[in-house]
Symmetry: D3
Subunit: 147 residues, 6 copies
């Protein structure tokens, strides 16, 4: 295939593959006063954008990750939460904010990826849109030994 | 102001003003088997697009409707449902689909408009996005006597 | 369920359910000079928005159509064209413009719907986005006997 | 090319071609009290979506209109207003609302189309997005003799 | 609440909360020749996306920041510029580009946040969309002592 | 102009200018089994978002880069690939994934920028949307000597 080298003045490069899916959940903030009217039972559609980031492409396929696999793995993770009441899944002590759910999905996806695609060595960013004007994300950087 | 007449070959014209807001609700489909896993308690963010349609502009302001008023009225209507559990609002016999909620919001808005802006004589379309890949709408045409 | 009647001043009402999917195709315009550089082999991603329109909701489920069925039927239709070379499917005499493809998908979907969901009596609009700044659609109205 | 006939139960069909461009303008509402703080000099980016609608495709090219021509004609019309102060163009008596500008662009485009593409016999809809949560449009239907 | 620890191979993590609002302004580039036709008086709608970034969530609420507070603070900042002529606010020596305004909004928001929410220790990114095809942003990293 | 200094607790700042364009291409993955049905000839519309990043604005114009120049340079680069069959441009050994194309466009743009705008000292990110639910990007950091 291609024998690429970086342009001379470039010290660092990063590729990203991104995929989008969505999930619909119910939850409350357990009548905690800090959340005002959102303390009671309500719900959300989260549009879920995941980015897989790494420093070089697969030498044969020129991809970060098989996009079909990326969508399948994300679908499996979202199935845990989609069409559920998060109060039942996480109990009455946990505030299931959009930030919290971004991390949950991130961590679940990371572990699934370790099992089913261990050759992927990179970072993940999970972004959840909760409305047309608000979103949250969780991004991690892996240690260099993992990379 | 302007004394407009239609271009000669035009038989009908329509102006639209549109505004967007959103709401977050919980609901179930009462374990009705037709809804599969959506039968249980879950939720949604609805991005709500409303269009106000009429045939001529206000002669002094050149608007369909005051956009600030449009946003305020829509906000008042959405407050009835935002951050609520629709199962509590509508009882266990009603399937609160996106289509159904589009009509509810339409009818509420129509009545509020009658009270607070009776000079508006036109049609309303309410469109609710339930995810990045699905939506529903409800549109009406008023009788000519109303127009 | 609900015994709804229209608000008194409303003469006509219409519900819509919409779903989105996408497909990726190659095609040419057979070097026809009217298409300039687009005459040669190139391709497109079409984001495909379909709207199903009718005048009343299903009395038990309050839906226009089962949204899962809508997505499944659309997926089946798009499978015919997705990841294909339209020049091979339609031959060298047909200009497979976005307008043309909107109609193809419309007609295929209509026929599938007749077979698999004959109780749906309404209209279909198919809209294909070919880029962030261009799209085409095809919409039909059925005869009243069908309605 | 294709000898299409409508599916038997379809009484009416319509094709649409849509294109998007944008313009940036300054204007005021001449300190008219109905507009509140928008009475003074401010401005807007209008994302401009135009739809050209007709009942049949060009028999040779299968298009509603040459998309390159559509974009060129729209560009020419927007040039009249882009990067301008509408108060200078329309004087101190005209309220240059988004609704008003949708009609201006519509009428200009209609006349340009008459001159440069008289074979197009159809309708035009101009939609202007003024923000992420507000828009206006102007749509016309031509008389049947024109069609 | 939760006693989370990072997955073993993760060296760094970051949460983000994002909110969207918009503003409409007039300005010129003081007839500076580098700006061509944009040198004269015109205007823009800026869709304003702000991201608040930090390394850990609030221990009780699991949020980066109260989303209601985030929207309120952003609203207060935008009020300074919304529906204004930037030439009057910044004088005839300043080129009020989208880049410049992203920084203004960032700095204003930072200072307001210091006063009203001093417990937030993190970074801010302000992104302004000036059209459907152009945007600018300004992002900062705080010193570790602040973090 | 302005003599700005960073807010005291800020250690690093970055400006970004972003522009959007699109291109339509045909390609195959040379029947490589890893790509399944995408191995054959098909195509894509890539919505192309480019971000130019740097640490300070031009002292006279307050811009990262002339936005007109940014759009022109991007247009020139995309012309190489737009409405082409990538299999003809890159041969039968190269997998022209979205990731690969993001890098091509990045490298081409970098070189054009070196020639036509050598005073720009910053980084570039190229993001290609291949559908409403998938995208890829390529981002680089330049060495400090270049900065």
């Amino acid at each position: 295939m291609l024998a690429w080298c970086l342009l001379p003045w470039i010290s660092h490069a990063r590729y990203t593959l991104g995929v989008r899916d969505s999930l619909m959940i119910a939850h409350s903030f357990h009548k905690h006063p800090a959340f005002g009217p959102a303390g009671g039972m309500h719900g959300a559609t989260y549009t879920c954008d995941v980015e897989f980031q790494c420093e070089s492409l697969h030498p044969e396929t020129n991809w970060v990750l098989d996009i079909g696999l990326a969508l399948t793995l994300l679908g499996k993770v979202l199935e845990k939460y989609n069409l559920k009441n998060l109060d039942e899944l996480f109990g009455t002590q946990v505030m299931t904010t959009t930030e919290f759910m971004a991390r949950q999905i991130h961590d679940d996806l990371y572990q699934l990826l370790q099992e089913q695609c261990p050759e992927f060595e990179g970072d993940i960013c999970v972004k959840l849109w909760e409305s047309h004007k608000a979103w949250a994300s969780y991004t991690t950087t892996t240690t260099s030994s993992k990379k």
